[in-house]
Amino acid sequence: MKEKITTLKALLAVREAERRYLQLRLEDKFSLEEGEQHKNILVCAGTGCTAGDSAILIKKLNEKLEEAGLSEEVKVVKTGCFGFCQKGPIVAVYPDRVYYTHVKPDDAERIVNDHVIGGHVIKDLQMFDTDRKTGEKVYDIDKIGFYEKQQRIALRNCGRINPENIYEYIGIDGYEALYRVLTEKTPQEVIDIVKASGLRGRGGAGFPTGLKWQFEKDQPGDEKYVICNADEGDPGAFMDRSILEGDPHAILEGMAIMAYAVGAHQGYVYIRAEYPIAVNRLRIAIREAKELGLLGENIFGTGFNFDIEIRLGAGAFVCGEETALIASIMGKRGMPSPKPPFPAVSGVWQKPTSINNVETIANITQIILNGAEWYAAMGMGKSKGTKVFALGGKINNTGLVEIPMGTTLREIIYDIGGGCPEGKKFKAVQTGGPSGGCLTEKELDTPITYENLVAAGSMMGSGGMIVLDEDNCMVDVAKFYMEFICDESCGKCTPCRIGTKRLLEMLTKITEGNGTMEMLDEMEELCNEVRDGALCGLGQTAPNPILSTLRYFRDEYEAHILEKRCPAHVCKKLLTYVINPDKCKCCSLCARNCPADAITGKPGKEVYKIDAEKCIKCGLCITNCKFGAVERH
């Protein structure tokens, strides 16, 4: 039975004790006694790196350390996401501040023998960046482009502490904010701090968080609820998953502060079932916090009770919408309902409820500890603080980046993201997921704020940022999102249920070469109708991918319609594959690999030909041909 923490003194004592271990990772100077732990090997155990066998790596490292008799002095720490998923699995050795990339389980031996025992950094695994001016390799982790411009607040503990160990969280500064709030501040004071910080909802719409809390607090009644929305449905966004995997206690503490401010005693975390690691870490965190009395009854002896329950989603994008999420928590079909009444008035079990996104909640403890002014000093205009983006798609450095609001898209894509791979030309960046839009080269110098992105025809959304290069067809991307929305539309309101279906049909016709120019105008008109008529955010923003691509890439739509041509060579129906007889060496490789038997010829004698009727346009012949003889038009 662990001892409960009921006083600040006890909390600080735990922190002091833990700091002895954490100093290796946190501080430049430290004092160690003989035989004490002198090295930490941090291994990322996020979803990405786990897929790269980081769990086996941890096991092997521990085995090798044991063999060398170093288990006491060198500790292997399982951490959350380092953000740089492209380079995973990532291993960091402290206090040396050496980061290794693409580490395989078999590299465990080298890390222990060469680095830990031999004291040599393993150069071929070490993370580096190339200085753009001098062309020299940079190994200092703070100077690596991917990390240099970042400012980590919501992600501060990810990749730094073991998320499955509450003591490490307390060792950093954990649960102090909750103590301060419960003992030194009234609920109204807490709300005033959050209001003054300028924090806005990070789930997409950007509603001021303090105001949301105020609405709920002002409602009469004793039974109120708080919800953490971890139903990260935007395909291509994974910041909420990483925060929950890397720093689950920050969410629990933030929720407890939120509950105190609004007067709730029960919280729910609504999380996607597609995130098994995050669900598991959250379960462990709740259990640990309860064991130490930091959740449950009479927290810090103040008489404040607060409990948290996990509710799993089951694969419905619309459940990210507040009212649908509430229906789902109550075990029903996740269908939105008209507002008002707003959840702050009538939410879960018809009681006042406030719902905040994971990233929003992750900022709360730091705002309490450092003050509203500290937070409000970061950012630009009405968008304060930092925002986490999930960089993905055709970009060199995929991963999670947290930057102050007001950073430009260009800085994110080029300075942090390193531009498009293989020297391909940047075409567009998609922000805001299925509710957002595509922005082009011209908009890259726009500083990122909620307002600027909306003005440019996209939106902040939850922070997915997918980079597209010249090989991506914009009509196809619009169609991809419309298919997604059609699938996910709950069917309750007509504009969304039928409108999106008609839009998808029109897009399909265009990608198949059956579109007309009138269709573009019809599509635009229907988009406006769906936007104005749909019941919830899903339908209201569904036309955005079409509207923004029509706005910036009308020429691509026109090429599909007028010339029956897909400029990016993506839309299958508009492609033809031919074999260039001058280049064909009659090797028969294409014919042998063709799944449709569409290629004929005689090995070594007769050049091969593709029968356009039979060809299913899978592109296997192009991949297989060693002489570049297959051409796509």
Binding site: T47, G48, T50, A51, G52, F84, C85, Q86, G88, E232, G233, D234, P235, G236, A237, F238, R241, S242, A273, E274, Y275, R311, L312, G313, A314, G315, A316, F317, S328, I329, M330, G331, K332, R333, G334, M335, W349, A390, G392, G393, K394, T398, G399, Q430, G433, G464, I466, L468, N472, V477, F480, Y481, C490, P595, C618, G619, L620, T623
Partner: protein, 199 residues
């Protein structure tokens, strides 16, 4: 009176006969749900009893049933309805609403291909077309031989490794058309063929 009675009996017999033909029809189409064995029924009872007193437990129960049995059988919906004071139709409505719940048993090997945006722009569509061909399972269906279920899933959140796929719980990153991932599928197909030939 006698005539009325006999007419009643005749119509009842006709009804039963109709039911039976209906059942065989469904069986032929593969739609008739087999009766569950006692073990599965007991499992369902346990799950329902565990969550009965929780507020709004329907989805929690469905999750556990599916984890345990691999799908949600009709009997489970009836039992959940009874315990939560709703109708089987309402529970069925919940099952149908959420993409993760399935009323059909899954194949021996379950393959998930992520179709999130990051994976899509890096060629996940091509990949899923390929897996369809390799396994004989249509997207979101099970192959006729019952060996493979192919699911197109929503974003798995491992976008740094796009395209991402899962075979029986193991993740494969950077899964291109010809990669470790497709090789593994080919290997399983070969192995199953061998096993089938032996049997």
């Amino acid at each position: 009176m006698l005539i009325a009675l006999s007419q009643g009996i005749i119509s009842r017999i006709a009804e039963i006969a109709k039911c039976n033909t209906h059942k065989t029809l469904l069986q032929r189409k593969g739609l008739y749900m087999e009766k569950l064995n006692c073990d599965a029924l007991r499992k369902i009872d346990e799950i329902v009893a565990k969550h009965k007193d929780q507020a709004g437990p329907c989805i929690e129960m469905l999750h556990e049933v599916q984890n345990e049995l691999g799908y949600v059988p009709f009997e489970a919906m009836e039992k959940i309805a009874e315990a939560t004071g709703s109708s089987p139709a309402e529970v069925y409505g919940v099952v149908m609403f959420y993409a993760q719940f399935t009323t059909e048993p899954k194949g021996k090997h379950v393959i998930n291909v992520c179709l999130g945006t990051a994976c899509y722009v890096k060629g996940a569509q091509k990949l899923i077309d390929r897996v369809e061909k390799l396994t004989g399972a249509a997207v979101n269906k099970t192959s006729p031989d019952g060996l493979f279920s192919l699911d197109a899933t929503r974003c798995l959140g491992a976008c740094g490794l796009a395209p991402v796929c899962i075979i029986d719980g193991k993740y494969y990153g950077n899964a291109l058309v010809d990669s470790e991932f497709t090789n593994e599928i080919r290997r399983i197909v070969r192995e199953e063929k061998k096993a089938g030939a032996k049997a």
